[in-house]
């Protein structure tokens, strides 16, 4: 089985499927939790964009670095973060991956190379550039990937990073997830021209790809990752995708006028990255259906376990609220 003529091994394909479904189901759970008023803070869901995180992160080991965004659950899980501890974090519990100090916008696990979600749009770009510098100095083939949105691509720090990464040939991959919106502004109203092309004047290779096609993502990432690992410098990938849910859960409570057509959402739902991939896998190998079903079932159980873990975790101790400000206390 080699979906789309990709020559990818079967287990790799199934693992990509599993990770995408895991992200989807965890976030569907979060959507329900949010509607039920169970989440203390805001959540920005990645539903519809799973193929990007998964297609890229499958090339990364735990020793590679990623930086992420306010829409960071997908990156966290794709890079191997623990769903139960992420769930507990978003619930604001002591066993959360950040002890309840960070929440949805700050899920991070440095032991897995996840520098973390980021509440500052564009904030991860400089961090990833720094991590790429560290990786280059380490000289052991590690790389850094910055995920960021089309909105973030309008922050000047992107140009600054392209310039430095190009000059220093840093092992950096800039992955722009163009989901068509900066919050409630359609991309075209706030983004002039092509994002991918912004790499050109710096001599940084770039590609615009279908971000709802996990194989296409995997392939583009493959090229960029090789390049970075071999010391040939940075790349930029612009993945066209769509968020089928709102910018932030529960936005209808304060954004009273629609900012996009339901027809547009439906059109993108029809291109859902998980459905499409599953269809393709089944088309190429009808026998895979059982395996997919088994994965679905296992993921459901993972999600239930994550919820149980999170719910049974205690609230953090208020006496600890000052937290770990400094490593070396005065």
């Amino acid at each position: 089985m080699a979906a789309g003529g990709s020559n990818l091994p079967r287990e790799e394909l199934l693992e990509m499927y599993r990770r995408m479904v895991l992200i989807r189901r965890i976030e569907e759970q979060l959507a329900r939790d949010c509607a039920a008023g169970k989440l203390p803070g805001p959540v920005h869901l990645y539903i519809g964009e799973e193929a990007v995180a998964v297609g890229v992160c499958r090339h990364l080991s735990e020793r590679d670095w990623i930086t992420s965004t306010h829409r960071g659950h997908g990156h966290f899980l794709a890079k191997g973060g623990d769903p139960a501890r992420m769930m507990a974090e978003i619930y604001g519990r002591a066993d959360g991956i950040c002890g309840g100090f960070g929440g949805s916008m700050h899920v991070a696990d440095f032991s897995k190379g996840i520098i973390g979600a980021n509440g500052i749009v564009g904030g991860g770009i400089a961090l990833a550039t720094g991590a790429a510098l560290a990786a280059q100095l380490d000289g052991d083939g590690r790389i850094a990937v910055a995920f960021f949105g089309d909105g973030a691509a309008n922050q000047g720090v992107l140009m600054e990073a392209l310039n430095v990464a190009s000059l220093w040939k840093l092992p950096l991959i800039l992955v722009c997830e163009n989901n068509g919106f900066s919050e409630f502004s359609p991309t075209a109203t706030v983004t002039s021209g092509s994002i991918a092309e912004r790499a050109r004047p710096f001599g940084v290779p770039f590609r615009e790809i279908d971000g709802n096609d996990v194989i296409a993502v995997w392939q583009a990432a493959d090229v960029a990752v090789r390049r970075a690992r071999e010391g040939r410098g940075p790349s930029l990938i612009e993945a066209r995708t769509y968020r089928t849910r709102g910018h932030v859960e529960y936005e209808v409570t304060f954004i009273t006028e629609p900012y996009r057509d339901e027809a547009e959402v439906d059109a993108w739902r029809a291109r859902d990255p998980i459905d499409r991939f599953a269809r393709r896998l089944r088309e190429e190998d009808p026998g895979v259906a059982d395996e997919l079903a088994a994965i679905d079932a296992a993921v459901e159980e993972t999600v239930r376990a994550a919820v149980r873990f999170a719910e049974s975790s205690p609230e953090p101790d208020p006496a600890s609220a000052r937290g770990h400000m400094f490593a070396t206390a005065p």
Binding site: P40, G41, P42, E89, G92, R93, G96, C98, G100, F101, G102, G103, M105, H106, N118, G119, I120, V121, G122, G123, G151, A152, N154, Q155, G156, S182, E183, F184, S185, T189, V190, T191, F254, I255, E257, Y259, E315, P316, P318, A319, S320, A321, R322, G323, M325
Partner: protein, 327 residues
């Protein structure tokens, strides 16, 4: 008078002022959709020329405000969350706060920067900073922090008409707080504190969102016969020192409540001013109820442990009143 929410009052102020002065241009990220509701309807009313959604690029927009103001426009620039002011800090600190001074007063810079500031909503560290101490230290920007819907409206109108860069900081997540707002047009001048509740025993200065818990604490303490005078500075730059000093001279005791990190907070600064210029009136140490020098955490139980609240204010008041000079 009519009962209105804080954000409605702000929306009215923006509407009225933009109606009144066609030279005003307003821009920022998603001001058309309006996350907080303050800019709602403005795009429809005033059109895409005067109300502009910008890309996400705080460094540019904070500086564009300066350039447009220097070139003759009255500008309203929405920075959204206080933490994003750091992202646009260069033009605020190096240009907006300095251009008039450096050029010997050649120009006015009539800019109102809008932002929400402070915590309390589990938005975590990168969306919860109270940024007024940083802004106040720049010297060249005024800083307005309304404590009620009525003040929000009158102060915002004054801020917009002011010929200097003004930061108008609405307490994050508290746009829904209701209050009585006058029907007719009114302005509240910058630099004029309000005594929210008179009292003889202690002066409780509370800034912005802290006015509410301060009033609650005063109410509760009153039940015990402790009469606290609640002073709301309304603007931290300029500061109405006269009103504050006069209050301290009457009561002899001061507690300042400020939703800022303690170090170099406005609470610290007020305490320093009083310890210098009303020292002889002081009967007890000056207490600050502030945020410890850490970030704002996500989990509600942690956040509650960090932010000033009614109990902490009451405790500070009680301890200040109980204080006796050691023998």
């Amino acid at each position: 008078m009519a009962r209105k929410r804080m954000i409605q009052a702000m929306n009215e102020a923006l509407l009225e002022e933009m109606e009144r002065d066609p030279s005003i241009v307003l821009f920022g990220e998603d001001v058309k959709a309006s996350l907080f509701g303050d800019t709602k309807g403005l795009w429809k009313r005033f059109g895409a020329d005067r109300v502009r959604d910008t890309p996400i690029c705080e460094a540019l927009i904070s500086g564009m405000a300066v350039g447009a103001a220097a070139a003759g426009r009255r500008v309203i620039c929405h920075m959204m969350f206080g933490n994003f002011v750091y992202t646009g800090m260069d033009a605020i600190a190096n240009q907006a706060a300095k251009l008039r001074y450096m050029t010997n007063g050649q120009i006015k810079l009539p800019i109102t920067y809008l932002a929400v500031s402070g915590g309390g909503r589990s938005a975590a560290a990168q969306h919860s900073d109270a940024i007024h101490p940083v802004l106040a230290n720049l010297g060249g920007v005024k800083v307005v922090m309304p404590g009620s819907p009525a003040d929000a409206k009158g102060l915002l109108k004054s801020a917009i008409r002011d010929d200097d860069p003004v930061f108008f900081l609405q307490a994050a997540g508290r746009g829904g707080e209701p209050g009585e707002v006058p029907e007719d047009e009114y302005l509240i001048p910058l630099g004029r504190a309000a005594i929210r509740r008179p009292g003889r025993d202690l002066s409780l200065v509370a800034i912005g969102a802290m006015v509410r818990p301060a009033l609650k604490a005063a109410e509760a303490l009153s039940g015990e016969g402790i009469e606290v005078e609640v002073v709301d500075p309304r603007t931290v730059v300029p500061l109405d020192l006269e009103t504050i000093f006069a209050s301290v001279r009457r009561t002899g005791r001061l507690v300042v409540v400020d939703e800022a990190r303690d170090t170099c907070s406005v609470a610290s600064h007020l305490a320093a001013l009083v310890a210098e210029r009303a020292f002889d009136a002081l009967l007890a140490p000056i207490r600050r109820v502030t945020v410890p020098d850490c970030c704002i955490p996500y989990a509600p139980v942690l956040e509650r442990a960090i932010l000033p609240n009614v109990e902490a204010i009451e405790r500070a008041v009680r301890e200040t009143l109980a204080w006796r000079r050691p023998a």
